[in-house]
Amino acid sequence: MASKQLLPTRVIVTWVILVLAAVVGPLLSAESHGGTVAAVVVLGIAAVKVRLVGLDFMELRHAPRALRGVFELYCVALWVVLSGLFVFL
């Protein structure tokens, strides 16, 4: 039996991206002192992180299109709505 790769390369790459993104957020926030643009970028990074967790950890990348589509829509809506509230309220 061919040995299965317990940690696929894509999962490792995703994890490294998530760790790096986790550090970038606080750095951006510290640099901007609560600036609006930085906040929108930080929320965008958060939405990308959510998407990566869903696609590569929850295995939605290979899920039926409808389920994956609803999840991707959630990620976009999250960023648009939260950024919109932050900027316009």
């Binding site: 986790a22 609560g34 906040a39 939405a47 295995e59 939605l60 899920a63 039926p64 939260l82 309220l89």
Partner: protein, 202 residues
């Protein structure tokens, strides 16, 4: 022409069967519902922030990032372990899988321990939930998430126990393992939004 007509549906059927739902459909109603509920919480937090942005900004800046950032790394590590554990069980290496789930449970307990230390420090330094709206929302959001972490540790405990014996990952057993790991990833996913929202931009 005929062959095109004949093979196209077969290809679609093959593709459909390859695209499997992780866990089972009912679980995803719950997971997506939970994500929407948290989404409403996040919106409410920002609506509340708009009423007094200066107080929110000052309160957020008084908050230390060390524990929140450490907990982010702890949850990311736990998620990687959970992927590894599930794949180990799938590969028939259930003993290793069981140990990896135990390590992921350890991460969950570490997260809860650090969060408790953070709460005690905040309350001890006069930043309890009764001080202002920011701190009230901080405790509501992180407390609700912490409740999910505790449930998640219990779910990982079930996977740990089940993986101690050989597992044939078919039918309901597949749903339990895939569903359980997806729940843990949900805990991670929610924190991916909660941390930047409350600690960085709120």
């Amino acid at each position: 022409m005929t062959s095109d007509v004949d093979t196209a549906p077969d290809a679609r059927v093959e593709e459909r069967s390859a695209r499997a739902i992780p866990g089972e459909p009912g679980l995803w109603v719950f997971l997506l519902g939970d994500m929407v509920v948290f989404g409403i919480f996040f919106v409410s937090f920002l609506v509340e922030r708009a009423k007094d942005p200066e107080a929110f900004e000052a309160s957020r800046e008084a908050l230390g990032l060390t524990i929140g950032l450490t907990n982010t790394m702890v949850l990311l590590t736990s998620s990687l372990l959970v992927v590894l554990g599930l794949n180990a069980v799938r590969a028939g290496r259930h003993t290793i899988g069981s140990r990896i789930f135990a390590a992921a449970m350890g991460c969950g307990l570490l997260f809860a321990g650090l969060k408790t230390v953070e709460y005690m420090h905040m309350i001890g330094s006069g930043h309890g939930p009764d001080v202002n709206a920011y701190y009230m929302w901080f405790f509501i959001l992180t407390g609700t998430h912490l409740f999910h972490v505790v449930i998640g540790v219990g779910v990982l405990g079930v996977l740990f126990t089940r993986a101690r014996r050989p597992v044939d990952l078919t039918g309901s057993k597949r749903a339990v393992f895939e569903g359980g790991t997806c729940y843990w990833h949900l805990v991670d996913l929610l924190w991916m939004v909660l941390f930047p929202l409350v600690y960085l931009v709120g």
